[in-house]
Symmetry: C2
Amino acid sequence: MDSRIREHAEVIVDHSVRIEKGDTVRVAAPTIAEDLAVAIYEKLGERGAKPSLSMRSSRADRAFFRACETDDFELPEQSLAEMEETDAVIIIKGAENTAEMSDVPPEKIAAYRTATAPVQKERMGKRWVGTQFPAPGEAQLAEMSTDAYEEFVYGAVNKDWDEQREFQRQMVEILDPADEVRLVSGDTTDLQMSVDGMKTINDYGEKNLPGGEVFTAPVPNSVEGEVLFDKPLVHQGREIEGAWLRFEGGTVVEHSAEKNETALTGVLDTDEGARRLGELGIGMNRDIDRFTYNMLFDEKMGDTIHLAIGKAIRQTVPEGQPYNESATHLDMIVDMSEDSFIEVDGKVVQRNGTFRFEDGFED
Amino acid sequence: MDSRIREHAEVIVDHSVRIEKGDTVRVAAPTIAEDLAVAIYEKLGERGAKPSLSMRSSRADRAFFRACETDDFELPEQSLAEMEETDAVIIIKGAENTAEMSDVPPEKIAAYRTATAPVQKERMGKRWVGTQFPAPGEAQLAEMSTDAYEEFVYGAVNKDWDEQREFQRQMVEILDPADEVRLVSGDTTDLQMSVDGMKTINDYGEKNLPGGEVFTAPVPNSVEGEVLFDKPLVHQGREIEGAWLRFEGGTVVEHSAEKNETALTGVLDTDEGARRLGELGIGMNRDIDRFTYNMLFDEKMGDTIHLAIGKAIRQTVPEGQPYNESATHLDMIVDMSEDSFIEVDGKVVQRNGTFRFEDGFED
């Protein structure tokens, strides 16, 4: 077996979910990622854990959804019962064909997600990690050979996470106590928001592997200005390019996209919260040096920031602060590597992708 | 997709476990059987069931067992919790390599089985079926091409099970009220036993797919005589050939084997019950016309009988009848197609593989 797979398994088991003797562990993997499941099972054996393996087959899911006559799904009680007795969850992504669900009506998938929400809610209270196996489907999406994509994935996940954590901590220390944040890129993005009272989280490869971002929540009604997301994104199999939003009093009052604007409109129309921001994140994993149409990686790319419309991440909103509720959460990315800066409380903290604490640039 | 796979899925879902709307269903499949899992999921969608999919990876199991430092396994509580909330279980066998566990100490596997026994016990109280996907591993074991093995498997499982049930019912009606059974084959097998008070079960593809046998339990201390099992069997990866047993008062008092006698001795030494018979079965599925080293098929082969040393099957032993308890259950087969007969209460009911109710042969 490729030694990088064993290394990936070790990062997952020992760093991300910190498995100890006696832990019940659920491993969910697509068939194509069997090698990684094998390597994880080896580590779980060494640690004395109690694993169970669950296959994700998007082909089976597709067949099920298409065969269902109604969207009136019910909770699969066996999955909730299993989750309740699980200490840690390892979710592996990886596709032979990322378009496998392209002929399933999105409403059906959404209805199923709603029906199974109690399982996901239970899972969020556990130690869990979502990670990526370098499968041909995601390689194709990234317009990379499978071999080159493997290099890319292992470069991003098999790294010194303690060092990464300390690097990112410097940005957390700036953002966590801050009030005003301003994001400027070219003449297309100039957005201001308050993060006053919100908590900044250091993501160093625990729940997401790769990690590599710091993120917080904007105060929902504080967002003003406009933003052009110059990196494309794929939402429910459709690529949205050149999404542009203008905010007033925290709410999107105007929007457009160069490609698939109706998809963007659909997301914004989900509910009231879908027109407000739920997340501000700063990508700091410089081993992610290219865009691959996979948000797990893209949002951590060095020299980028991302904003999500919709639901805020619970940990970032302390008790008593305004929480942006929504059924959706859509991350969108701005490239900050050129002609851009991030200003915090009136002080530039990043310019053209370089942080003040790295270079001590002149204001 | 091969239409035979869809037909197999339909037999599983509608005949074997009779899925209805709202049923929680656990599908356990090896990665190689994904096509069958897809076809089953399609049927489950049509029926309005609530499925979950569990991957069997013998490579992952092997890695786990080898990495474990001790045999001191604990119950994975999440698996028991899941099983408790499950209405029906579909277990699919299928291997890329049937020797995958050959370098795991059998004691470790046995210890794990003991630790997970509550899950299996819970499963036995559900609607469940074990079936076979025609994978290359089992094809190789059978010394068949994968293509020919597919023909063989689908011939055995995709059949008119109502017709098979009625065919077998004739044998159930003979064996169920019977007392004395005598099995004679050549000059190597002449075995007598009582089945008085025991229940004969008609297996027509419910818990086992393929089905195709009728089976009951011998009265444990009634077995007298000797038997040569002229079909080989594979036990924990080792092939036992030419196993021979002599019974007195129900107990094996002498034994030998042409190949791997120590493996046979090991089974007999498991416990007291391992030296007595737990099952008498009569194979009646004539679409199984060759031996494939796979007991799921072999024991149902037309013109054979099989006997199991060890644990009796619970359904065959009514309350108040003597139940043979053991940690083991090893099926062994006698070819009855030539120079052989089965006698029930002094009357020949099968001669050289032909039943009396088929041909009305002369005594």
